[in-house]
Point group: C2
Chain length 323, copies 2
């Protein structure tokens, strides 16, 4: 029996498209910031008495395709450890589910950590990152704290995250604007598949990412929050242009997304530097240097409501313990 | 002294990007439907007594860059006809100005028609189309009625519109949804320049258009409104993906644009076939077969208000007369 705590991450250079659906090998590298405010704590207990895996999320029994994804990851762990016992999984998400706030990142990182530990596997962090990847692509990065790169690789062995700066020693922060915490309509898995298969622009996405990865690592080395934010904003819009140009085209934006984007641009026009990024949902994350926190927060609170804002700082990597 | 009446057109396959800014030679072909409901009537009178061109639009004197664009077109006409006289231009727009409803298309087509006639130039329609092009790209197509192709060409001689089906003999119609008739913030001229210069995806746009031009002409030959609409919707979204992916990225959509798009998709999901297209502004045009007019109209009217809707049918080509 073991427990793991893992934090979400928000990509500054996005992961959008797989080259292997089964192993979750991405088309490109990506780079993210792990956040302190959003995390998942998961306990796994393998028990011979159980007839099937029992998965509880926030006190509710999980069924359907979501439960099958958990069982698939547990199967990988069982296979590697020659275990046959079914597991009791008790997971608590401190993340609004499935609204582009990457709850699956922290959830599958925590599951990989707790299950592998409970099964007696001695995985190093690279091994954990590879295992988390099998549950959800973005979980690959949530094994590490701070700024993290997911190196695409070509197969299960070579596709894993590496830390770029685990202890972030400069002022980058994010405000998450909660726009719609209901279930989103188009999953990121389906959205990226559609983009890869049908957007005529998708074939240039690897070039866009290759360029942005070099630029963002340079900006991180220079501790240049404005440069990091500008790259992240441009990269996000270029990802969302792939959904718009798919067949059929679609968008994750809603009217509040457009409003939040406009507020960020207006703040910037008024000399308060901040930048937006959005994932596969309507929520907007605003990137800024902590010296601008008060100005950014108060402007967003005035126009959108303080109850929809969460200030998030760089967060730590995964922690795992035996219960 | 001569008067011309020209109608607007809405592109089904968009014009987005110039290869020659001065001569307005587009990067790609495009294809549009001329509409009956929106038009411009313009009278031009060359008068030796005038010290400078006098331009009235809807009874208001025009100045600034807009007036200079008119004078530039008049200069071309004067040069070709060896006229030196300045002109009195009196123009009436039956189009909401500069909100993506292509008022410049009808305006510059009517100006080209009236000015060339008043100056005694004997231009055929191809010549008129080339002249209108010098004022505004989309005006190139407004010389003809119905379904019109603008062949990009390579220079002033070879870039002009040709009629595909002047008398439209099937049920295609559009409902224009007036979302914001105030001046737009980013002109189409600037928006397309930014897209050409900074969107990494722009270099695939010519391929997208080449594919869509073949497909839409086939669909027109088959009188297949659904196929025409589906191509137009996809083409429009791929054009708007170019603005989102520019540097800096931008969008012409506002919250009502997203709402109108959602209504169209919902109608279609309910078996009422209709399709959307948007130009360089927030307005949405809905394409459908006239057998669906009542169903589409009543649903849009319920959700957006009937006062914002204009039903438009295929319109005629330019008419020119001496006063």
């Amino acid at each position: 029996m073991a427990t793991a705590k893992a934090h979400t991450n928000i990509a500054l250079v996005k992961y959008w498209g797989k080259k292997d659906q089964e192993l979750i090998i991405p088309q490109t590298d990506s780079l993210s910031l792990t956040l302190d405010e959003f995390y998942t704590t998961t306990t796994v207990d393998f028990d011979q008495e159980l007839a099937s895996d029992q998965v509880m999320i926030n006190g509710q029994q999980l069924g359907g395709p979501a439960a099958r994804k958990v069982t698939r990851l547990l199967d990988i762990v069982r296979q590697r450890s020659d275990l046959t016992a079914r597991a009791r999984v008790d997971s608590h998400n401190h993340v609004p589910t499935a609204a582009g706030l990457a709850s699956s990142a922290s959830a599958f990182a925590a599951l990989a950590g707790a299950a592998s530990q409970a099964a007696g596997l001695q995985l190093d962090r690279r091994g954990l990152s590879r295992l988390a990847r099998r549950g959800s692509g973005s979980a690959t990065r949530s094994v590490y704290g701070g700024l993290v790169e997911w190196q695409a690789g070509n197969d299960d062995q070579t596709s894993y995250a590496v830390p770029i700066m685990e202890e972030v020693d400069f002022g980058i922060e994010m405000i998450a604007i909660l726009i719609d915490t209901r279930q989103k309509k188009i999953s990121s898995r389906f959205g990226m598949q559609q983009s890869v298969a049908t957007s005529p622009y998708y074939r240039l996405w690897p070039e866009v990412v290759a360029h942005d990865m070099v630029a963002v690592k340079k900006a991180i080395a220079a501790r240049d929050v404005d440069q990091i934010g500008a790259i992240a904003e441009e990269n996000a819009l270029r990802m969302h242009a792939l959904t718009l140009s798919a067949a059929p085209g679609f968008t994750y934006f809603d009217s509040d997304t457009l409003k939040a984007m406009a507020i960020v641009r207006e703040l910037r026009a008024n000399g308060i530097n901040c930048y937006f990024t959005m994932d596969a949902g309507p929520n907007v994350k605003v990137i800024y240097d902590r010296v601008n926190r008060e100005a950014v927060y108060s402007s967003l609170a005035d126009q959108l409501g303080a109850d929809r804002l969460v200030v998030a700082k760089p967060g730590p990597g995964i922690k795992i313990w035996n219960d």
